[in-house]
């Protein structure tokens, strides 16, 4: 049995009161709930305060470029499908710089989990609007208010038929841990958009702001009903639903590759007999 102690305790570079602390704890609890040992897990991140999370627990880590966590996670999962691959970064990294990769990842449906720390603002670069900032959100770089409409990641994910779509809140850690555990166990690409306050740069979407608006989906909510999921995922404003918004099974991307039927690529020797057959085709 895996214990939470195996995931260790580390000093962080986060601001006191940051939502990242709750997300980190929830992630550790979820990994323990899934009985995954640290060496079975690969955390892949981009750049930003959220993207530092993998440094603060014991696991394999690939901390890559801003916006490019998902392609690196995709490559790693294809190379070794035995790894539990979790891509984790912030809203700017996943939905802004990496927006094209986000859409492509949802289309692929690899068996990976995508955790997005969504505080509706750029923190590490000190307070610019992010793709999920509310339209009109005032910052030093958008003094007249963010001119673009906010990106709704869960609505887009449901519209694209993503295999598992959930939203959590850093302020409700038990539910969040459960959502992350469900996402990891789900066979297919699982997105968890995680709302969190930024105590330094987002004076609007505060802990209280989220607390007043978030509600947990009722027990009778059917996450397999796509029409209901579409309507529910579109809801963001006075009321914000939390929980598994949409879930369905579909074929895994990995199944399209003959080579992956033989297990991780590093274990597969190059066959001289096969190579001889290849050469024959050029005679």
């Amino acid at each position: 049995m895996t214990t939470i102690e195996q995931y260790g305790k580390f000093d962080t570079a986060w601001c006191p009161g940051c939502g990242n602390f709750g997300i980190l704890n929830a992630l550790k609890q979820a990994l323990v709930a899934c009985d995954l040992a640290p060496h079975q897990v690969l955390l892949v991140s981009g750049i930003g305060q959220a993207a530092k999370t993998p440094h603060y627990l014991n696991a394999n880590v690939f901390n890559g470029l801003h916006g490019r966590g998902l392609p690196a996670a995709t490559g790693a999962k294809l190379a070794n499908s035995e790894l539990t691959v979790i891509a984790e970064s912030g809203d700017g990294c996943m939905y802004g710089e990496g927006g094209n990769h986000f859409l492509a990842a949802l289309r692929r449906n690899l068996d990976i989990t995508i955790l997005v720390h969504d505080n509706q603002v750029y923190g590490l670069t000190k307070g610019q609007a992010s793709p999920t900032s509310d339209q009109g959100f005032v910052t030093k770089t958008q003094p007249h208010g963010a001119p673009s409409a906010a990106f709704n990641p869960v609505a887009v994910a449901v519209a694209m038929g993503t295999s598992f779509v959930a939203r959590g809140f850093a302020g409700i850690p038990d539910q969040l841990a459960d959502l992350i555990a469900q996402a990891i166990r789900h066979r297919g690409t699982a997105l968890v958009d995680i709302l969190q306050p930024c105590v330094s740069f987002n004076p609007v979407n505060t802990f209280k702001w989220y607390k007043d608006r978030c509600y947990e989906l009722p027990a009778e909510y059917d996450p397999t009903d796509r029409d209901v999921a579409r309507r529910t995922a579109a809801e963001f404003g006075e009321r914000i639903p939390l929980g598994v918004l949409y879930r369905h099974d579909k074929p895994l991307f990995e199944e399209h590759f003959d080579a992956l039927k033989q297990g991780p690529l590093h274990r597969q020797e190059v066959s001289r007999t096969a190579f001889r057959q290849v050469l024959e085709q050029y005679r």
Binding site: A13, H55, R68, A104, L265, R283
Partner: protein, 568 residues
């Protein structure tokens, strides 16, 4: 008497000139002749003026030729554009409808030979007869290509092929281009440069490739995909080149020897990833097939204009190696060497080619599948001590690289500066130690650099320096000049980075005159040589019109080489 016949088939894209060309080439190879194919095409799916050139005969060819013995014109435009390149006694084979009024023209009544859909086959029979190839050998190629997909079309194809063959036998009296018996074995492989690279990649152990299609690199990946299931490879078409390089790095981190293939614009998008590979010390092979820039440039033509860019693309300081194969054999061999170098030094390594080499085919001696040495990713976890430190400081800068998930050791890689255990830091002593560790790997790489290949006498009156695909035309030009009694030597670089002056400085110094020959407008390699060795090469033959070098072009230009000042 060695034979050297240049056949150019011209027409619009979609007219089937590549099909005729390939079938004819296969038959020539099977009959034991040497071939060299060069293709010229526009960036469009149909229309435009395209050519498929086959230089064939009884001696090996290393570059294309300007003059044409047999011009096979599928449309009137081909006649107009290439009539002037006809050699003495050269023939123009064209449909009677647009054949020019010239003694060199053979007006063929294709309408009488078969239905229009099969005129290609008629042309194949006709040219085959003219060259002296047996009809059965020509048809064997048609059978192999069509047999599986359209068995019902075989009979009519045979009939039309025979009509073309017979028409030529009875109606064409000019028979200057009948080939004597073939000399080479029939056991050869017919490959273009990109196929040779793909085979080298498979032999070298590549298990993963991500790409975004870009001419002229795409056929590297097409060839890999054709063998992916048999060879156990995963090939993924990424959403863009940024994704492609990051996927390859992720896959390499997790244990799959990985590569990408692209051209200048795609490489531009990959450069941050190149830097990531340098920082995370992840082995990755980048195949960059050059085409003329800037921006979209001439998408289907050739140039050697991205040497500076490939050498410097990627921010920060980290070691890299750049191989520039000069022929198909080197494409195969150096792709394997590049993969091994990337794995050993855990850093990005490049194979720099161009459209000419990518698309140019020859028949070559078969590769030996027993001689391959595929790379094995990662180190043995049994010898690692806990806690494992991915970036352990070592004397040669190489830290044993474990793969994640293979043992209980945790593998941490970071694009930020990091401690030995891979975790993020900004501590200055660590920063300094890590910079120096990464750069120490470069010392090892320098010891393994391929020496440039020198041919001819050291005290030559003229030394021709070249790199990459310019090798063949330069060797041919040197041979022609030697026949004219000149003391000419050549120096070809198949590895253009790092450069080791001790390997070549004496040779540069002992020749009376040194001329650098390269396919760009600013003499990038000449400038790089000067920067690294101090030896100035003011005499240059450059080409940047999108076409490959030929021996004749080089000889013509050598006659008027002024010393050039430093370029911008």
């Amino acid at each position: 008497m060695p034979q050297d016949i240049n056949i150019v088939i011209g027409g619009e894209a979609g007219q089937g000139l590549v099909t005729i060309g390939q079938l004819l080439s296969k038959a020539l190879v099977r009959a034991g002749y040497e071939i060299l194919i060069t293709q010229s095409y526009h960036s469009r799916i149909r229309g435009g003026h395209n050519t498929f050139a086959i230089r064939t005969g009884t001696v090996p060819f290393h570059g294309p030729r300007d003059t044409i013995e047999l011009l096979v014109a599928l449309n009137a435009e081909t006649v107009a554009l290439h009539q002037g390149e006809l050699a003495s006694q050269g023939l123009i084979i064209a449909d009677a409808a647009f054949a020019p009024d010239s003694a060199a023209a053979v007006a063929v009544p294709f309408k009488e030979l078969g239905p229009e859909k099969f005129w290609n086959t008629a042309a194949l029979g006709l040219i085959g007869n003219l060259l002296g190839l047996p009809a059965d050998l020509l048809f064997a190629g048609v059978e192999a290509t069509l047999g599986k997909k359209h068995p019902e079309a075989l009979a009519i194809n045979r009939e039309v092929l025979d009509h073309g063959y017979q028409w030529a036998a009875t109606r064409i009296t000019a028979r200057h281009f009948t080939l004597a018996g073939g000399i080479a074995g029939g056991n050869r492989l017919m490959l273009h440069g990109n196929e040779a690279i793909a085979l080298g990649a498979l032999a070298g152990g590549v298990k993963f490739c991500a790409f975004y299609p870009m001419t002229p690199s795409t056929s590297v990946v097409l060839s890999l995909i054709a063998h992916a299931d048999l060879m156990g490879c995963v090939i993924e078409q990424a959403e863009d080149e940024i994704a492609a390089i990051n996927m390859a790095i992720g896959a390499a981190f997790a244990g799959a020897p990985s590569m990408v293939a692209t051209s200048g614009g795609g490489y531009a998008l990959m450069t941050e990833g190149v830097s990531l590979a340098g920082m995370t010390e992840t082995p990755v092979l980048l195949v960059v097939a050059q085409r003329p820039g800037p921006a979209t440039g001439l998408p289907t033509r050739t140039e050697q204009g991205d040497l500076d860019f490939v050498l410097h693309g990627g921010h920060g300081e980290f070691p890299r190696a750049i191989f520039a194969p000069g022929d198909l054999e080197a494409c195969y061999r150096l792709t394997q060497r590049a993969l091994a170098t990337a794995e050993r030094y855990q850093t990005p390594v490049f194979l720099l080619t161009d459209q000419f080499l990518a698309d140019s085919s020859r028949a070559i001696a078969p590769f030996d599948p027993e001689q391959i040495a595929p790379v094995k990713a990662g180190a043995d976890p049994a010898s690692a001590k806990a806690p494992y430190r991915r970036y352990a400081i070592t004397e040669n800068g190489i830290s044993p690289r474990l793969l994640p998930g293979v043992s209980e050791h945790l593998v941490v890689a970071d694009s930020d500066e990091h401690y030995e255990d891979g975790h993020i830091t900004e501590e200055q002593p660590v920063r300094i130690a890590m910079v120096e560790k990464r750069l120490r790997k470069f010392a090892g790489m320098k010891e393994e650099v391929l020496a440039p290949q020198h041919e001819g006498t050291p005290d030559a009156e003229l030394l021709l320096v070249c790199w990459g695909s310019t090798k063949g035309p330069v060797l041919e030009a040197a041979a022609i000049l030697r026949e004219q009694g000149k003391k000419v030597a050549t120096l070809h670089f198949a590895q253009v980075w790092p450069l080791i002056p001790e390997q070549f400085l004496d040779l540069l110094g002992s020749a009376s005159k040194v001329v650098c020959i390269e396919g760009n407008a600013t003499g990038q390699f000449a400038r790089l040589l000067r920067r690294e060795s101090g030896f100035a090469l003011p005499h240059r033959v450059l080409r940047y019109d999108g076409l490959p070098f030929t021996a004749q072009y080089i000889i013509d230009q050598l006659g008027q080489v002024p010393a050039q000042g430093e370029n911008p």
